[in-house]
Symmetry: C2
Subunit: 252 residues, 2 copies
DNA sequence: CCGATTTTGTTCTCACGTTCACAAGCTCCT
DNA sequence: AGGAGCTTGTGAACGTGAGAACAAAATCGG
């Protein structure tokens, strides 16, 4: 994440817009919690209520909100609708963002159908794939179009967000094309590290990494006491003789 | 993440297993990078090479690896196969983990088909759904089974990892059932905050949150100079009069 | 065998994030 | 009007993570 903001040492004056990244990542959670409260007909909520709904500690929540401004009322709490709007505006989901999905395999398919994807604020404008066999297929009310149309679509529909759901192989090339076409935010599902120029934000969602993190902790649980012992380093120049095959890669 | 480990103040003696969470999250990335290098026929790599492949800085990579032990050779670098095995063992992917997927909608479908999911180390043992219309459907070489069979399957196949791909509504209930059945690690795709007892690890993958984070940064880019001004707080008891509808929720 | 060179493992420092604890401020009741 | 009772917003302490820099160890050439 390349998000350097010139920040002088003094206390973080709230007006100079510098919201910590950790806080930014939680704002959507708060937004969802507020929406849920609102749907339940609750008009006012304390930081404690909100924190519970969002699954965080209330002090953290208050500090996070304090970066946006002073939207609560002491002794009372927060007005749910008002705070919801403020957070939505801060995040930027009061406006519409055009999104393209590249790579209509299993996952791309699922995302295209995923009604939840269309959270207000995001609009899928195109499903792209380079495979001619897929082009033309209808998914919901959309049709898969040729990846070659990318540049045209990005320009026409002012696309700023691209989602990559291709296999690992073509992902970097797709990414480069997206960037060259003018996309400045990318959500990558392909199991590769993509490199992008400064000014382009990239986020990664990686199934197998998540599973592996879980596995790590799981391993500690079962073998809390007796862990598989670390074999000694081989004599001098450690060439491993014959180790079991293990993979960290994914060939979607 | 509830992973409190009794740790006394002294220097973190490597032998007492306490790998920082941030490092754990990167180990799978290193593992993948090593696999890629190995596939390219590269037998030895320096921290610089590895760091580049993994998309991190080399000092960080060396420090991360130092938590596992001293597996490099000064002046030379790391033996790719050997290091790969050590990391795989540390993570726990040298053994097989049984996984159940609950909720065979669009996303569950995709995951079931997703060959990449079957990274060595993880084995999908069952696809479950409570909808009778889905039960019996074949996906790949598996058949969707009734959610009621959960407990039986978990016990029989020693399932320790559960993946929730249901809509938000039933997610907490599914989660509770998984935990009660003995599952101790959960990967949640449903857009809700799940609560689990201590000892159960849970990780979240959330599409719309990722998009919203991108949107936040995107907004700063376009309007770098003139941001939409924050409206003043309403008079005393801030009841928002009529704000545009915004959503943070997802109704998959 | 020794010195030059390379690259790891580690120490130190700084920045960031979390949590506690409390003063400031608002409401409501008497 | 005044005080009791809440709840926010924030200052300060603490813990974790990142990066620079360097000493320790290994190889290689002479």
């Amino acid at each position: 994440m390349t998000r350097a903001s010139s920040r002088r040492p003094g206390p973080p004056t709230r007006t100079e817009r510098g919201i910590p990244e950790a806080t930014v990542a939680r704002l959507p959670v708060y937004l969802r919690a507020l929406t849920a409260l609102s749907d339940s007909g609750i008009a006012t909520a304390s930081s404690e209520d909100l924190a519970t709904a969002a699954g965080v500690n209330s002090a953290k929540l208050r500090k996070d909100l304090s970066y946006l401004g002073s939207y609560g009322t002491r002794g009372v709490g927060y007005d749910v609708e008002y705070l919801r709007y403020q957070i939505a505006r801060e995040i930027g989901v009061t406006q519409d963002w055009a999104v393209v999905i590249v790579g209509i395999g299993n996952l791309g398919h699922a995302l295209a159908n995923y009604s939840g994807f269309g959270t207000r604020g995001f609009r899928i404008v195109a499903l792209l794939d380079a495979d001619p066999a897929l082009v033309g297929e209808r998914i919901g009310d959309m049709e898969v179009r040729d990846f070659a149309e990318l540049e045209h679509i990005v320009e026409t529909d002012r696309v700023s967000i691209g989602v990559i759901t291709t296999p690992a192989g073509p992902a970097q090339e797709v990414c480069d094309r997206l960037v060259a076409a003018g996309v400045t935010s990318i959500l990558n599902f392909a199991p590769v590290v993509l490199s992008v120029p400064d000014g382009v934000d990239i986020r990664k969602v990686d199934l197998s990494i998540e599973l592996q993190i879980l596995a790590y902790h799981e391993q500690r649980k079962s073998g809390e006491v007796a862990l598989p012992q670390v074999p000694e380093l081989p004599a001098t120049n450690g060439l491993a003789p014959d180790l079991p095959a293990v993979g960290g890669g994914v060939s979607a």
